[in-house]
Subunit: 144 residues, 2 copies
DNA sequence: CTAGATGCAAAGACTTTGCGCGACC
DNA sequence: GGTCGCGCAAAGTCTTTGCATCTAG
């Protein structure tokens, strides 16, 4: 993996190339992201950045994260879509497939995927994993 | 899997046994859940139930779903926790482990889990899957 | 009867948006 | 000087909560 410094530079260049500006706020947010391996929330990033840049606003953090996600330089780990969904037919932990384009959630029904889910619990190391497993991809509809 | 009718009856009995009441609203919500395999959102369930029970309120739907989730009779498919989290270190799709107790998200670093993620894309059938994969379980901390 | 459930409306939490000011090229 | 980004505050969603009323048991 690219080192943080190299990546920071590359991203600065990328922003520039896209017609965007390289501001103190953006650099600070990038640095915070690169330094934090805990998959921080927006609020956590905000607090972190605020330590060095007290005037920054939460809106700027949101806007910058959206921009970086757009450029595929950070990954938003959002629970599927935006709202809670419920599975009332099968309340047991089981594998799902989630479409990153339209948000649809389907049961993972191929033998191969079910097999993967079945073996997961025995491979979590220190973690006590279940057969609940979300596969992410693009559903047939959204592939056109 | 249990048939919907049997399940509806069992759930009615379960509610009763727990000191709860079997109301028209609850039965309607249960029926809607059992009839819908599309992993509906709260709003969708609400609309569905409303068709047969126009006076029902959204709050009742929320409360009932929470109750059923408590009893482990429906599964809430919530995106990890409640807020957006970001992975700025590795923007490529990769596997994570999510703790259902405390919500912590960790990279899946055991060889076995990475191996599972690596083979997933070739096993999605009609879906075009990626190596993004969320394993759900309980982290070492939360196991005490 | 009486505990428990409902519906309504208000409150909360998180996120997005609109807008005028300020900064960079 | 014009464009783009910033901070602020307001608006928007989705979800939860408080409370008076109603109802299943």
């Amino acid at each position: 993996m690219e080192s943080p410094e190299v990546r920071l530079n590359r991203l600065a260049g990328l922003l520039h190339a896209e017609g965007g500006r390289v501001t103190a706020q953006r650099l600070a947010i990038l640095s915070a992201l690169l330094a934090d391996s805990s998959h921080p929330s927006v609020e956590e990033i905000y607090q972190q950045v605020k330590a060095g840049l007290p005037a920054i606003s939460l809106a700027t953090v949101y806007k910058t994260l959206a921009l970086l996600a757009e450029l595929n330089e950070v990954q938003e780990l959002r629970g599927a879509e935006e709202v809670s969904r419920y599975d009332g037919r099968n309340p047991r932990p089981h594998p799902h497939m989630i479409c990153t384009v339209c948000g649809v959630i389907a049961d993972a029904e191929t033998d191969e995927l079910e097999e993967l889910a079945r073996v997961a619990p025995s491979r979590g190391g220190q973690w006590r994993l279940t057969e609940r497993l979300d596969f992410w991809g693009v559903c047939p509809q959204c592939q056109e």
